[in-house]
Amino acid sequence: MTDSWKCSDAAANFSRRDFLRGSSAVAAAASLTAAAVQADAQQASGVAIVSGATGISLDVNGKTHKVSVEPRTTLLDVLRYQLDLTGAKPVSGDGSSGAATVMVDGKPLCASTLLAVACVGRKIQTVESLGGAKPDAVCLAFAEHDATQCGFCTPGFVVAVRAFLDKHPQATEAEIRSGLNGNLCRCGTYANVIQAAIAVVKGGK
């Protein structure tokens, strides 16, 4: 299996092997706990209370970007309005559509339910990092298997499929059907998405 995320420069340390260790649920719970502890500690010391607009740096697609955020600013809003990375889509505020899926430290997360300030120091990769001159195998398979109609759900779905196949490179059709239920498509491209994902598994990418 080759690493098909187009990581460059700063993101070169990003490893999918880290992501593959242990279950994502456990990892997510652990990182939440760690973040909470850190927040408590910071609050106790009185140094990390942010209000109003503040400048932060975000590591997006291997580059450091200085952005201005408020505590309420979501990662999705920063990506879309400040970095003009509009691949991740605002479909549902509660994250139940999966259209805003991006990778944060190798995990597929919903950018509309993440606060930008909580992403400092984390490696963020958007669907745009899978494009470029040599598109990722998942993007190519979506095109080949016509897994887009209106296409609005597609970028989130592509990231979800990439993350799922990184974790399950030998996924069976049944696993694909049960493992990608976090993403909604209104046009009904699911049958084609399944074929695209199967093709990526067969291609070993």
Binding site: Y81, V91, D94, A143, D146, C150, R177, R186, C187
Partner: protein
């Protein structure tokens, strides 16, 4: 050129037409590069958010926006006409005011600070309850028709005659089925919500609008803004779903333009998810009381129904003209009642009227099979009628019959069939089969195309159409490339601007037909001119030339040829420009209308939990001539999946007391997900007899049958009808309990 004989190449001669071709823009979509209205960012752009009415029916007493205006980051507050004191709000979510700010957060905070006083008014939303609607004075006549084989005598009182005649017909029927069926209202739920990103350049408005009507919305803006239509450009390179709900700028699009005018800054105003579901379009509900009578063979001889439907606050509903659906019994009486509620108004939803009509009437035909203990397939077949007397829509019964045979083979119907409720249960699991049939027109829409062929061989077209998911760009390019003998990538199709030649809205399965007409005509006309030039050079009769494999050559003498580029140098210094038009309804050798389709579903139902699993779904569809096999198949897959959603999951749930739309978020508004769809088999029915008719629209037809097919499969599994869609687990269990089969 009036003397061009427009035609399509034969199946054998076609190089691209009917082949599986990858969409030219799918990689742009899958890498996030495609820009939708929501994605357009202008410098200094304001973000706008709307305040929706929290109440379904109320009168505005006062509105105070002062706190919103003082909110940091808020730049402008726009109060809509509906918020003027004394105005009556008719449904929840309707926008009262719009706040534009420097960020999403500022706009949302501003919205939260608007103070409105409301006077509450009576609410009615229970459209499924006809008695309650009648009592509340919310019903109106929706039309109807009676037809009997026997005519009343000259001296007969017509009503008395009909009463006696229907009594007689039912008495003479070997089988009589009575039932109540329904399908709840659903929403369009476009993943890209309605809205626009707009900018003024002096007196001109540039509106990136999420629309399925690029060529028709510039005037909408112009009328409402009282400016000249030529001062508006509507752009829509990509649209994130429409399904019939995005034909107009809508008042919020116009408001975005007004705010941009007032502030001198670009504005983005997209509805939020809750508003999208509440106000931006829904499909009418439909409920029916049916009594039908059939002869010993299961042929329905008499149909008597009353259905009531609701298109929300603005009324409207399902036409009586499609009842019963497709089938044409000799005697029928059908009445429609419209119910007015305090819910967001209906908009055209993919195949308006048909999916509901199919779901509430072909279930009754299936209940006839159940009562007879007969195979549903046989009952459907016997009721098809003959080609000289087709039913609703006019598709040929012989086409349905042929499609049924194909579908049955793909489904392995005979091997899987068991009489209703008589299948072998595995524990609490029972399997079932069901089918349904449907029809649609799908005639080509108006379309104009400007085609330019450059002296260097470049080819591009301009057409004010749009791609709502069909793959319109690719269709245009396939038609051009096929005609000019070029590969797809050698031509370019420009769509998505109201400044391009007018093309019809994408509604009613009319787009592929329309753009195929205009592009084929333009390309054939251009090619005739090129043949004249090449003929001189090759010393050949222009009529003896053909365009194949990137060359213009003499038929039967391929050595006498010019390359495409050589030919184009003959054009001269300036590009060759050709415009072609097609007017909807014009008889044409290139396009046609009226299709039939057959679908079959196989499900497993868990009698303990009420959960339904889709095992297999077969869709056989007549579409005339296939342009792009790959995207055409996707449209059918998508329609079936949408059908699974409204059959099993999707419904607008309302609170009868407050009128609130309770599940207007995607965690609660259940759609099918990837694990819910089972195996889907798509097959086009395309013998020469149908292919030679030309291009016919495909978007609507395959979304019609799933409701009845799946309901019938569930009924076949359980032996009990779950009468109303969506067939939720709770409804399965309720139906089982009612009949003591739980």
């Amino acid at each position: 050129m009036a003397d061009t004989q427009y035609s399509w190449p034969s199946r054998d001669d076609a190089k691209l037409l009917g082949k599986s071709i990858t969409r030219v823009d799918s990689l742009a979509k899958s890498t996030g590069a495609a820009k939708y209205a929501y994605d357009i960012n202008f410098p200094k752009m304001l973000i706008a958010r709307g305040l929706g009415s929290p109440h379904a029916h109320c009168r505005i007493k006062s509105i105070d926006t002062s706190a919103a205006e003082k909110t940091p980051g808020v730049v402008h507050v726009h109060v809509l006409d509906l918020a003027k004191p004394g105005s009556e709000v008719q449904w929840q979510g309707e926008l009262l005011a719009i706040v534009a700010g420097e960020s999403e957060g500022a706009a949302a905070e501003g919205v939260s600070k608007i103070k409105v006083e409301y006077e509450m008014l009576d609410v009615f939303v229970t459209d499924s309850d006809l008695a309650a609607a009648t009592e509340a004075g919310r019903t109106s006549k929706g039309g109807g028709k009676v037809q009997t084989e026997r005519e009343p005598g000259d001296d007969d009182d017509e009503e008395e005659f009909l009463t006696k005649e229907f009594d007689r017909l039912f008495k003479e029927s070997k089988y009589v089925v009575e039932g109540t069926y329904g399908v709840d209202a659903i929403t369009h739920c476009c993943l890209e919500p309605h809205g626009a990103t707009v900018r003024w350049d002096g007196k001109s408005l540039l509106a990136y609008l999420s629309t399925q009507n690029v060529s028709g919305t510039d005037e909408g803006f112009a009328n409402d803004l009282k400016i000249a239509a030529d001062d508006v450009e509507v752009r829509c390179d990509y649209i994130g779903g429409g399904f019939g709900s995005k034909f107009a700028p809508d008042y919020w699009g116009v408001a975005a333009a007004k705010i941009a005018q007032a502030t001198g800054r670009p504005v983005k105003l997209m509805l939020d998810r809750d508003q999208e579901l509440k106000i931006a379009g829904s499909r009418p509900s439909g409920y029916i009381k049916v009594k039908l009578g059939a002869d010993k063979d299961g042929v329905v001889q008499v149909w008597d129904s009353e259905h009531w439907t609701s298109g929300g606050a603005t009324g409207g509903g399902i036409s009586h003209g499609v009842i019963p659906y497709v089938f044409a019994p000799k005697n029928y009486r059908r009445n429609a009642i419209n119910v007015k509620t305090n819910l967001g108004p209906a908009r055209a939803w993919r195949a308006p009227n048909h999916p509901q009509a199919c779901a509430i009437t072909q279930t009754a035909y299936d209940d006839l099979a159940r009562q007879m203990g007969a195979d549903s397939y046989d009952v459907f077949l016997k009721n098809l009628g003959t080609d000289d007397k087709p039913g609703v829509g006019g598709a040929k019964p012989s086409v349905y019959a042929a499609e049924m045979e194909i579908a049955a083979k793909l489904m392995d119907w005979k091997a899987k069939w068991h009489p209703h409720g008589k299948g072998q249960a595995k524990g609490s699991l029972v399997e079932g089969l069901g089918m349904a049939i449907h029809t649609w027109g799908g005639g080509a829409n108006d379309s104009n195309c400007l085609l330019k062929i450059y002296p260097d061989g470049g080819v591009e077209s301009f057409c004010g159409t749009q791609d709502i998911g069909v793959g319109t760009r690719t269709v245009c390019m396939i038609v051009l490339a096929e005609t000019l003998g070029l590969p797809v990538e050698a031509v370019k199709a420009n769509i998505g601007s109201s400044k391009y030649p007018v093309s019809g809205p994408s509604g009613g399965s009319t787009t592929v037909g329309g753009v195929s007409e205009s592009h084929r005509r333009a390309a054939q006309d251009a090619l005739a001119k090129l043949f004249e030039l090449a003929g001189k050079k090759l010393e050949a009769d222009p009529a003896a030339l053909e365009a194949v494999g990137g060359r213009i050559r003499v038929k039967g003498d391929p050595k006498r040829s010019l390359s495409w580029k050589e030919t184009c140098t003959l054009i001269g210094m300036r590009p060759l420009e050709v415009t072609a038009s097609f007017k909807r309804g014009t008889p044409s050798p290139l396009s046609n209308q009226t299709v039939g389709g057959v679908q079959m579903a196989h499900v497993t139902v868990d009698k303990e939990t009420g959960v339904i699993k889709m095992n297999k779904f077969v869709a056989v569809q007549d579409i005339g001539l296939v342009v792009n096999r790959k995207s055409a198949a996707s449209q059918v897959y998508g329609a079936v999946i949408m059908g699974i959603a409204y059959s099993l999951f999707e419904q607008r749930i309302t609170d009868p007391k407050s009128g609130a739309f309770l599940n207007a978020e995607l965690r609660d508004y259940k759609l099918a997900r990837i694990g819910d769809i089972g195996e889907i088999v798509v097959e086009f029915y395309e013998p020469d007899s149908e292919r030679q008719r030309g291009v016919i629209g495909l978007g609507e037809p395959p979304v019609i049958s799933p409701g009845a097919a799946i309901s019938n499969a569930v009924c076949n599994a359980l032996g009990v009808r779950v009468p109303v869609l969506p067939i939720t687990p709770q409804r399965v269990l309720t139906a089982l309990q009612k009949t003591g089969r739980a």
